[in-house]
Assembly symmetry: none
Homo-oligomer: 204 residues x 4
């Protein structure tokens, strides 16, 4: 079900239904085919006209949404003129849109899950990386941006920088998901952004 072909209407409805269910906090491994088709407003059997089984249906839907989100984020990152702004954009986006933030955490979660659906999703992502000429990766984009603007001056290994950014983003997502917070989000964002920049510049 490539994203290039125009997607059948029913598949779109199924994908949307999966997204909604997950956003509403449903447990991926407990989602029923009946839940999805009912939500999509189509017959149960119809799902099987497009997907061979539940795992394929759900993981396809997730890959689809992950690709959209990645592409959207990538587009936004490209609009920012330096690393600092792109970091604030990412942190701000998590604040604003609960769905987006949850989805981000959910992605992290799913990618470390050991259920069948997650295994399939990981395999799909690998395949996509191999066959697609280019795989959107907003963290690499951020690093590239920082290099161009000179915000990254130290000779740090790419892997390390990737880890530094990714872990801070996940950390912030978890932070704002938790309720008890003693300091406000704006301050936290400032601290995170400054620490990352200082680390990459080598500045005080």
């Amino acid at each position: 079900m490539s994203t290039r072909e125009k997607m059948p209407q029913k598949v779109e409805a199924l994908y949307r239904a999966v997204q909604e269910l997950i956003e509403e906090g449903a447990d991926i491994n407990r989602i029923k085919v009946a839940d999805i088709t009912e939500r999509a407003g189509i017959g149960k059997g119809t799902a099987y006209e497009y997907f061979p089984n539940k795992e394929e249906l759900i993981s396809s839907a997730m890959l689809y949404h992950m690709n959209i989100i990645y592409r959207e984020i990538g587009k936004e990152i490209r609009k920012r003129k330096n690393l600092e702004e792109s970091i604030y954009f990412m942190l701000g986006a998590m604040d604003e849109r609960i769905g987006q933030r949850d989805c981000f955490l959910k992605c992290v979660h799913i990618l470390t899950d050991s259920g069948e659906i997650s295994k399939k999703l990981r395999r799909k992502i690998e395949e996509q990386k191999e066959h697609a000429d280019w795989q959107e990766d907003f963290i690499r984009q951020m690093i590239e941006l920082g290099r161009q603007t000179g915000e990254i001056s130290l000779k740090l290994p790419e892997d390390y920088m990737y880890l530094a950014i990714a872990s801070k983003l996940v950390g912030y997502a978890i932070y704002i998901t938790d309720n008890g917070k003693n300091c406000n989000n704006t301050e936290m964002q400032k601290l995170i952004c400054e620490s990352l920049l200082r680390e990459f510049t080598g500045g005080i």
Copy 2:
């Protein structure tokens, strides 16, 4: 099933069985009661003499093991004489013991899961925090240690430091779990530790 009372032998067997199964990569949401009791070498019905249902059994077992691990880590941290050493200890521990590292990631994973078992586990942890006079928390220990030795000189909010340390640890765990690595683990450890210390000291 408080950890204060001496635990019945059967419960111990059940807890150990759950741990083994999870360490072997079983999907928490797919573990069957029969798997657990068989591994524990007891009758299926016996599990229900001690726990009202599967969720309670598994989440209790997980809380139990998490407490043990937390306590062990806490004990080790207390042996280190400064924050730097405690960070290297944590990173090194993940390298050495695959089980431990996986378990660490697994805990993170489970705590962000939306299945029934995870919900229960989170509730249990909350309750424990409220009712227990003291909750072991090795990251807070590390922060405290850094304050005492002067490695933490800046007036950073505790929450932020917590997030900074935790996210770096998780990041490293994910990093070494992935296969393709361009720089060796020792260098990565050094980078992580230095960046954390520099951030907290304000030093160059």
Copy 3:
């Protein structure tokens, strides 16, 4: 769908598809409508333009093919000049054409089946016997031939002779379908033919 009317092209395609599938060893009770229409190269819905349901479709196809085979065999029998030759022809035909032999066994099988399709087929055959002015029946032909040539001299009941010939034919079909044979087919054919002739003549 009488054989007198010229059969619509689609029906012919459907009948042929059913025959092919059965010859390929498909289980009658497991054949899917989709299999048939796909093989016939027509749309699934089209089958329902000509037949009210699956059972009617398959049993009609089978009746059609059985009639053709019966007629062909009947034509061949008429070419033989005595019972002996007609028996050898039947036995030889089974040896030569696996399809034919399998089909023969399949017919026997289906006629003793308790599935819906078989019930319908049997009913159809009954109706055909009643309404058609003449029903092709090669075994009766063989008996008639034997009477004319004098190879049947004893006053045996027709039913008995029918049974004697039919059971020997089925027996031979089963025999050559099995692999482990200690005596060659030619000898077996000779034994079968001689025993039948001796039985009907009363000769030694």
Copy 4:
């Protein structure tokens, strides 16, 4: 599920249920697990405590009953003092016990079926033949008996005699199953028996 071990009560109930359903004319390929367990008076899940799937359940039940019938027939054959009596016994048994006769035809039918259950049953019978020290086969018994009493004097190949007896028995079973009969069963039995004996003796 060897016949040597004492069979669990539930398995016995399941086997009996399968037998009853088949005797009542149920289509083997259409029997539902729910039908069987309901008839057996046990829960649906219980069937799966003893058998991995429906096919295994039904084919096991059938093998079990076939073995019983074969053994019973074998025992009776051993009581007869010559081939003639054993033939009359077989023919008479089919007349008397509709169930038995139907079962006989059913066995023939199933053994030529292409459904999953039949395939499994055939495989089971093969295995039984290989592993069991001795496989009951009443037709071979009949031939042996005929040899001992001298009723079989000609040097006919065993395979041919087997075929001759089997096909006559099947033929008679089919004959009495059909309704329209012009001659009575007793006469038919006499004809069948005499023809077999004459054939094997070479007598007139």
